[in-house]
Symmetry: C2
Subunit: 244 residues, 2 copies
DNA sequence: TCCATACTTCGATAATCGTCTAACGGATTT
DNA sequence: AAATCCGTTAGACGATTATCGAAGTATGGA
């Protein structure tokens, strides 16, 4: 139950991101603000009541008299639209959220997240108890996200061009491969797809089993490599939530 | 050549949307602003020079002393980051833009766009010379975008769940089907996928050829239906650019 | 015509922004 | 150690902008 609510909230936040981004980059932000209010079929008065401001505030933003609404206002604005419409049955909201279903990652991606602030490479490894076996060229550069990949599913399900989905927003991230035997496959995939992650972690493999080919690729490409033993996938994902 | 530049600018604008949306919805906008500057490896000083403000302005936003940056500032902020880094070779920028390649629509979608403001149903039809053959329940409600679909490719390439990709941001849009014979296929697809577009246009088909099944589905589902004759796909796409 | 609803305009006041100045902490140099 | 540089942060002040509230227009019923 909790999880369903969380997913819904995540989707709503995702929609809000898109809306605010569109407003910000619009050539006429006021018109775009108005557009979204109209799409949710909410009146200025109803909205202003929900926001705790006068309706003239809404009007001023929509007319362009106030040219640069702050992000705190916009956040409240979009959330108020979704809340009002949601209370009335949420038909419009459902229409938007329905689309995001198909956006969900391929099942080969077990987890993917962006950090709000940079996380040090050492801090990242410490968090999940990973041990670095091939160190970085620039150990001081921060990470800004991670992707956990089931390497078997990735091979069977992802097309070559789809490999770039492993990169979320930024390439300065850790790629964590699970369900591996020697780590050779994932490192070859990284090489042929010309990916340059900031860190590669091989999950649940003893040091003695790590393929020499994997180590060599890491060395040549200058990609730091680490292994993470004696931690289940679930535990690791849980730990990673604490970062960033 | 022009087209390449346009596509690049579109991608950059898309990235800017994502960045601004992430900043706006972040629990700590200052940290997120800082994160993006760090990702582009630009100093406060360099950035402030590009923006024509003092570096303390940047500092204030990042520290959170100024809690709600306006969209005009954020737009300039993100564009400045991309410009500075782009001038230095744009390695980071290329990394981000590379990912957006795979986001491009399936080849079944010939064109897709969102309007910045609502467009009346009649205005839309007039723009491309379409003739309404099944009128709307609510003719006064505006459209907020359109999708042009090659119906043959849609059937061969799109999976059932992917049909929702036809809907861009909003469902209050026109779906324009090209490469059709009677319009029966597209309307059945709409019915089984439970889509409710605000308008369906059948491209390049005479009224006498329109299938009765198509008309009936439109009637039962309450979807306005129109046909668009004697206009090439290219001309239509060109005309549609003038809207919204 | 009157009334209700939805939205717009605009002046007075409160809040925020942008600049300048000064200071801080960490590196590097002397 | 002291001096210096660099990127960043904090205080104070005038300039700008946001908010409210009241009065206005526009539209569409009873």
């Amino acid at each position: 139950m909790d999880k369903v609510v969380d997913e819904l909230e995540l989707k709503k936040a995702g929609l809000a991101k898109d809306v605010i981004g569109e407003i910000a980059m619009s050539s006429d932000p006021g018109k775009t603000i108005k557009k979204w209010r109209a799409l949710f079929r909410v009146s200025q008065k109803e909205l202003s009541k929900e926001l705790g401001v006068t309706s003239s505030v809404i009007s001023d933003y929509e007319s362009g008299r106030r040219r640069s609404p702050g992000i705190l206002f916009l956040k409240k604005y979009v959330e108020a639209l979704m809340n009002i419409e949601g209370r009335r049955g949420g038909e419009v909201l459902k229409g938007f959220l329905h689309m995001t279903e198909s956006r969900s990652a391929s099942s080969a991606i077990a987890d993917i997240r962006e950090f709000e602030k940079g996380v040090g490479l050492d801090e990242f490894c410490r968090c999940i108890g990973a041990q670095i076996i091939k160190s970085a060229e620039h150990p001081d550069e921060d990470l800004y996200g991670y992707t956990v990949i089931d390497s078997v599913k990735a091979i069977t399900e992802l097309s070559f061009s789809e490999l770039s989905k492993l990169y979320g927003v930024t390439t300065r991230r850790a790629l964590i491969f699970t369900n591996i035997t020697t780590g050779k496959g994932p490192m070859i995939a990284i090489k042929v797809a010309n990916l340059k992650p900031a860190l590669v972690i091989l999950h649940n493999i003893p040091l003695s089993e790590v393929s020499d080919v994997a180590k060599n690729i890491a060395g040549i490409e200058g990609i730091p490599l680490a292994i993470c033993e004696n931690v289940t996938l679930e535990e690791m994902v849980e730990q990673l939530k604490k970062l960033g």
